[in-house]
Amino acid sequence: MKILYFAWLRQKTGIDSEDIVVPESVSDVAGLINWLKERNEKFEDALSDFQSIRVAVNQEFAEFDAPVAQGDEVAIFPPMTGG
């Protein structure tokens, strides 16, 4: 799974893009984020508030109950502030 981080999520996690294998138990966006939070303190901090996080799966906005699977491109970012 390809995961992208933007804006302060990129800064807090220290990562802009990564390819990782997620466990099969991760089946939706919420599951993915909860799993990512357990990686280390930076992720724990960056992903602590669901309300300040938006997600896109394969470049389409997705809700937290949207399914994710290996091969997907998932982007995690704060609400957009526009142009």
């Binding site: 992208l4 933007f6 804006a7 302060w8 990129r10 896109a56 470049q59 906005f61 982007a75 970012f77 704060p78 609400p79 957009m80 502030t81 526009g82 142009g83």
Partner: protein, 155 residues
């Protein structure tokens, strides 16, 4: 319909001439140029860095431009959006719509820029004299402005 997301500045005159060249059914072009604004106040803005999601940005901009073309009888339309570090007075975005009828050109251009100001996948990092750098938070007034167009455009 043209969408470009680029680091470089653009030449408004050249863009508009290219947009409508040879299309004699066009009666008018409405365009909006967004600039980096320094509202003054306690801490002056030094610069703003726009970050975006390459690929998704172009896709979303293309979808909203397509919606504008469905809603209004446009002969041509253009969105050019910059990213990267910009200073006060720099151009950020150009939206232009051309139609046989000026009200169609006005309404579609306003629709597009209202959308871009809220829904486009850009994030702003502001550098001020006082506070250093901080990420701008989403504004509700912009959401309302985009909301007045009715349906949830391109989401």
């Amino acid at each position: 319909m043209v969408v470009r997301v680029q680091k470089e500045d653009f030449d408004v005159g050249a863009e508009l001439t290219t947009l409508t060249g040879g299309k004699t059914a066009v009666g008018g072009i409405t365009s909006f140029v967004g600039l980096v604004r320094d509202l003054g106040g306690e801490s002056a803005l030094k610069a703003m860095t726009l970050e975006h999601y390459p690929g998704m940005t172009e896709k979303m901009l293309g979808e909203i431009e397509s919606e504008a073309n469905d809603r209004w009888p446009l002969e041509a339309s253009l969105i050019v959006h910059r990213y990267g570090r910009l200073e006060p007075g720099d151009r950020i975005v150009l939206v232009a719509t051309a139609s046989a009828h000026r009200h169609a050109a006005f309404d579609s251009c306003a629709f597009l820029i209202d959308w871009l100001k809220t829904r486009a996948p850009f994030w702003k990092l502001e550098e001020t004299d006082g506070d250093g750098a901080r990420w701008v938070e989403s504004k509700q007034s912009d959401d309302r402005a985009a909301g007045r167009w009715g349906k949830e455009a391109a989401e």
